[in-house]
Symmetry: C3
Subunit: 139 residues, 3 copies
């Protein structure tokens, strides 16, 4: 596994920054190994039942990034996050745009060596779901 | 470290699926590097004081897996999980059977190269606790 | 990436134990890959706005370590933690001294190969922030 560490600076949009790491680090089968930092404002997609309209919630900072997990590839990111609020309580959900770095975000990414992550639509769920495939030579 | 990525499909029991990865991937010193997904229903063991009866709580989905951590080996798993609920609040605890995958679960597992995880009972705690030992040749 | 696994025993202070791993494992660019366990008591620093006095909260155990993330190097640790309480609710924040291991803590640490983590003060935030630099030969 090839590993890289990154510090995001104040004002960065966390999801956009992760998306930009995909071509910058040539990630074809990336996963988040660790992530910590702080956000000045946050927006998450809530869990929902299939077929329901997506629900988003916004949170005023300062909040801490206390867990960051997921996979990254050219066909898409699937990243979940847990935030802690000033009273210590935690909120979490699916990372979407609108999570803005306050002072810093430290993210360590691993890139698997011999596979690549594809996201073909799975008829069972209606979403592009992770498919772990043998790595193809670059075209 | 040898690394493998896996997608679990709807209806899978998360703990059972992780247990099945141990022989399938020949894990002798495995750890969860990242885990995201959704559950249609969940059941967790709560923290408790030594000597108290175990307490379990069940949660109706949809909930998101927002953090998944722990170690895996033939002598047992020790996995903790954080879930986010439709209102964004988080619950967490010790992973037990009864966490059923809704649409997907993506799990990346690392296998340490030169050691193996054993779980001898520690008289100080009464539990089989992690012991990191030099890897033995396979019998 | 070089990887090591560690079990902390009852009574250990989690932050102090992680700090001791830095020289013991010669970590110059370490990150937490996974962490699970239990605490008999906990103390966290809450998120706060720049310029405000730090706020700490204490929690009586038993609580579970359900997520542990961050970076480690000789110039400092930046570690965030999520704990689950006996009712399943989660609290989180910045790891400080005062988190005491109850029965066990299992921590897996990765050390990046070609870089080292420095923490020069960033005038934009007033804190020592992560800087990922080429690894220097040891003096």
């Amino acid at each position: 596994m090839r590993v890289s560490a990154h510090r995001l600076t104040p004002g960065a949009d966390l999801k956009t920054a992760l998306e930009q790491l995909v071509p910058a680090q040539d990630l074809r089968a990336g996963c988040i190994l660790t992530g910590v930092g702080s956000l000045s404002s946050a927006r998450l997609r809530m869990p929902g039942a299939a077929g329901e309209a997506d629900v988003f919630r916004s949170y005023d900072g300062p909040v801490e990034i206390v867990a960051l997990s997921g996979t990254l590839s050219p066909e898409g990111l699937h990243v979940h996050i847990v935030l802690s609020c000033p009273d210590g309580s935690c909120v979490g959900g699916h990372l979407v745009t609108g999570c803005i770095v306050a002072t810093t975000a430290e993210v360590v990414i691993g890139e698997l060596a011999d596979v690549e992550f594809r996201r073909p639509v799975d008829p069972a769920t209606g979403y592009g779901e992770l498919s772990v495939e043998p790595r193809q030579p670059e075209g």
